[in-house]
Amino acid sequence: MANSQIVRRRIHSIRNAAKICKATEMIATARMKRAQEQATAGRPYADKIRQVVSDLALQPEDNGNVHPLLQKRDTTKTAIIHITTDHGLCGGLNANQNHLVASSILEQSAPVILIVIGRKGKGFARVTRRDTYAVFTGISDSPRLQETLPISRVIINGYSKGDFDLVYLAYPRFTSAIKQTPVMEILLPVKPPPSPAPQAREYLYEPSPDVVLAELLPRFVEMQIYHAILELKACEQSARMVAMRDASDNAHELMQSLIMTLHRLRQENITREICDISGGAEALAR
């Protein structure tokens, strides 16, 4: 029967799709582990640099000069760093990021320019007709710091030149394997994190606190951007893992119901044939 053949064909195609989903899920699981490890490996550095920056920011200004990256300016232009993935098949991850960025663009009083990382964000900027200051794509799955330095350089230079006066960093935070929270933080001007316990002892700064701070601040910004990208990578893999698990579960469910349909069709056929045969036999016997 043509009908059961159609059902068979569908089962076949869904089985193939399920296999692909399963494979993608397994790859994502393996990569997620690596991405997570990478995100945690950089934590000691992040903690230390944060502590030193907050220690140094507490130092009295001896000549009244505030480092440009610390100085608050009147906002005439805001930049939002929109971090997304390059590839899809990761559930609502990018949609959530786009949503967050889109709604916060509306809240800004100053005109907004986007700095986009990832192909999905690039598409978002094109569809919503947003101006982009820079677009970066093709960051590898386990990025080295080196790879993200050009991004940081563009942002720090743009800020120093006055292309924008306020920079937000929007990225998904890895809460757990099944939960990613879109967050948005102020990147520039640098707001020194509150120091947990003011250092009682005096440090000897060489060559001087100003110089150390001036060298430290760009690295602090670089570290934050690098860290956000690592978080994104961990989120991407875990979101993909969950999305693909759901997809292969759904595929199996669909397959089960189609197999039931197929059986029913087959049974109907048999019944009909038996009816035909017994009807024919009775007619002959008469």
């Binding site: 030193v52 005096e202 440090y203 000897l204 060489e206 060559p207 150390v212 060298e215």
Partner: protein
Amino acid sequence: MTTFKLEIVTAERMTFSGDVSEIVAWGTEGQMGILPHHIPLMTMLRPGDLLIKKGEEEQYMAISGGFLEVGLDKVVILADACERAEEIDIERAEAARRHAEKTLKSSPSRMATAAAETALRRSLVRLKVAYKRPHR
């Protein structure tokens, strides 16, 4: 033997963590040695080799800039990049050195000169450290 705790961290990972008795690093004012009970200090590091001593044991690392913080009983080095002697790829470092030298010879712009000089210094440090490793 008095020792102190040394941690070397980069943005990517913790490269070293352990008790040592002396370190010698390149600060902004020149080479400096740090022994236990040093006063609290925060200094910038130039690209250079780092000597770590634990008793008689010596170990070299290549550091391409960063910061060094001496706390009460702990020293933390925030390195831009840091490699142990055995991790260094001599061929790659040689290639980088040759490339930087070639760039410098072709009399580039001031920006490119500065970049090439930094690259040259970094590759020289790597090579210096790499050749100090114990021969196997």
